[in-house]
Amino acid sequence: MTAFVVRRLLLLPLVAFGVTLLIFGLLQMLSPQMRAALYVTDPRQLRAVDSIIRTHGLDKPFHTQYVGWLGRVVRGDLGWSETAKMPVARAIGTFFPATLELTIFAVVPILVVGIWLGTLSAVHRDRVVDHFSRFFAISGTSMPTFVWGLLLLMVFYGAWQLFPPGRLSLEPNMYVLSQQFRPYTRLMTVDALLNGQLWIFVDALRHLALPVLTLSLVSCATLVRVTRSSMLETLRQDYVRTARAKGLNDGVVVNKHARKNAMIPVVTMSALLFVGLLNGVAITETVFGYPGIGLWGVNAAIQLDAAAVAGFALFNALLLVVGNLAADILYALIDPRIRLR
């Protein structure tokens, strides 16, 4: 196990290197003028575009440019994002907490409903309950995120004015931006509570409701499926039969004996799901105008904001690689059979 983790850690820089190469290669298809933003920290510098092109050799061969750019990235200098009107590194710091908050709120219903439906399905395999729960889960995944989003907006915002898009309403937002409000964590709900402002907390929750609902409906199915097949496998084990033979009632066997072991792949899956959500909220954020990192990334890509695209893609790739590694390690930690192998 240790050898496996060490190998993965050693490969990490190699993959990161490949990722930078791929991004930089893609960006080479843009004109040197558009790429100049990668090398500035202030939009005023862009007035001297020609001198930037000369200084950083943007018309030189690929490898010369790449080495120069990589050096800056390693120092944390990611350039200027025209879409966000701020340096890329700061934009990531600004938008990521919003996405993190949305993801944390979405994971809870996904876990609860997913595990519950998955267990139910496995226990009643090929019966009506099973068909129903699988149908529910599969229809959730089959509904494209943006269609869910538009329909929910139409009903809950358009018709009932209940859950507005965005992250905060105008008034709470003014207050948050004022000196009275101290951003401790940049997670709006947490900060609101820490500042003792219940009305801001409620407003933030109202804005989170629809994106959270959308994400849960779409992502629940994976967990239902994994829980179901893992439970099915566990329920066929000898020790479960022994428990039944002892005369324990079904609820105890399923909830105490079987589910604990069946949860092992589910825990790993949940970690992967969390990482997947962090990376996959772009469309949801776009539909609801929720100012997270995904909305910024999509806008940046559409407007060919070169520095933002590079920074956004690098950050997401890093998140995914580290997250997947963490999921693998978690898997070994909770399952002694793997740890001791």
Binding site: D126, R134, T141, M143, P144, L150, A159, A313, N316
Partner: protein, 316 residues
């Protein structure tokens, strides 16, 4: 020669063929028993018929240059509800939704089949080589796969399309580019386990060439997971393409593409004064088409997964 041929047949042809046959029979039997799987099959068959019969169901106007462009009467800026002649209503700029949905089925199959076929082919070739030969080649190929898989797929696709410029062909290219690594890794894993089996060694001992061993013996025994994933992908690729169209990166305005039609509704979801749900038909109908298409493939893929998952096989 005859003896050797017979041995060759017995040593190698048999395992592959026998397992294929029984799997297919078992697959059909289990597919028929599960109502959800049958529902998936029915939905997909219906969409195939709609796509094939598009010129009959929604005949293009005489003299229309491109049947995929939705016809529109005038340029009315507001969507208008279903009425005679326009059974599902019209979008902004008066595009006929019914026409767009019918011809959009063709677009969906074209996008799905082209992307999945390209990605599966690349995945099979690279994954097969990687798994069968192993060693340094495997190491290099898998690191390249790692790099591609390190990106969230849709984001990479958005970046590629943004750089190449909008258009359906570019969307297809971008989606194929982000889809192949998954197949390559999946197949490699399967090939790794199959190549150690006795019948592979037997085939090799009889002097079969590498290409023959891979094509006749390794691939037929390792392809099932790829089949399952490609079935599921038929739906998710079409949704991804629709999402790109929704972001304004895909098909041009007026093209029969479900995502594009939905993007036309974006400005109307909050309805008009006094009636918030006034323009429901602009989202609900194209959304339903996209949903049913994906649902069909997901139900089928789920059925295949259940049938082919070795851990669950024979459980009932």
């Amino acid at each position: 020669m005859t003896t050797q041929g017979a041995i060759h047949q017995a040593a190698s042809g048999q395992p592959a063929r026998a397992s294929t046959l029984s799997s297919w029979q078992m697959a059909w039997r289990r597919l028929r028993r599960n109502p959800l799987s049958m529902m998936g099959l029915v939905i997909i068959v219906a969409f195939v018929l709609i796509a094939l019969l598009a010129p009959v169901i929604a005949p293009p106007k005489a003299g229309a240059r491109d049947p995929y462009m939705m016809p529109h009467e005038g340029y009315s800026p507001d969507p208008r509800p279903p009425r005679p002649g326009h059974p599902l209503g019209t979008t902004e700029q008066a595009f006929d939704i019914f026409y767009g949905l019918v011809w959009g089925a063709r677009t969906a199959f074209r996008v799905g089949l082209a992307v999945v076929a390209t990605a599966v082919t690349i995945g099979i070739v690279l994954g097969g080589i990687s798994g069968y030969y192993g060693g340094r080649l495997d190491e290099i190929l898998m690191r390249i796969v790692d790099v591609f898989l390190a990106f969230p797929g849709l984001i990479l696709a958005v970046v590629v399309v943004a750089i190449l410029g909008p258009g359906l062909e570019k969307v297809m290219f971008a989606l194929a580019l982000v889809s192949w690594p998954g197949y390559a890794r999946l197949l490699r894993g399967e090939v790794l386990s199959v190549r150690e089996r006795d019948f592979i060694e037997a085939a090799r001992a009889l002097g079969a060439s590498d290409l023959k061993v891979i094509a006749r013996h390794v691939l037929p025994n390792s392809i099932y997971p790829v089949l399952v994933v490609s079935t599921l992908d038929m739906g998710s690729i079409v949704v991804a393409a629709a999402a790109l169209s929704f972001l304004g990166l895909g098909a041009p305005v007026g093209y029969s593409d479900w995502g594009q039609i939905i993007s036309l509704s974006r400005g109307w979801i909050l309805g008009g004064a006094g009636n918030a749900l006034q323009f429901w038909y602009t989202v609900v109908f194209p959304g339903a088409a996209l949903f049913l298409f994906t649902l069909g493939w997901n139900l089928l893929g789920d059925a295949f997964r259940d049938i082919l998952d070795p851990r669950l096989r024979g459980a009932t």
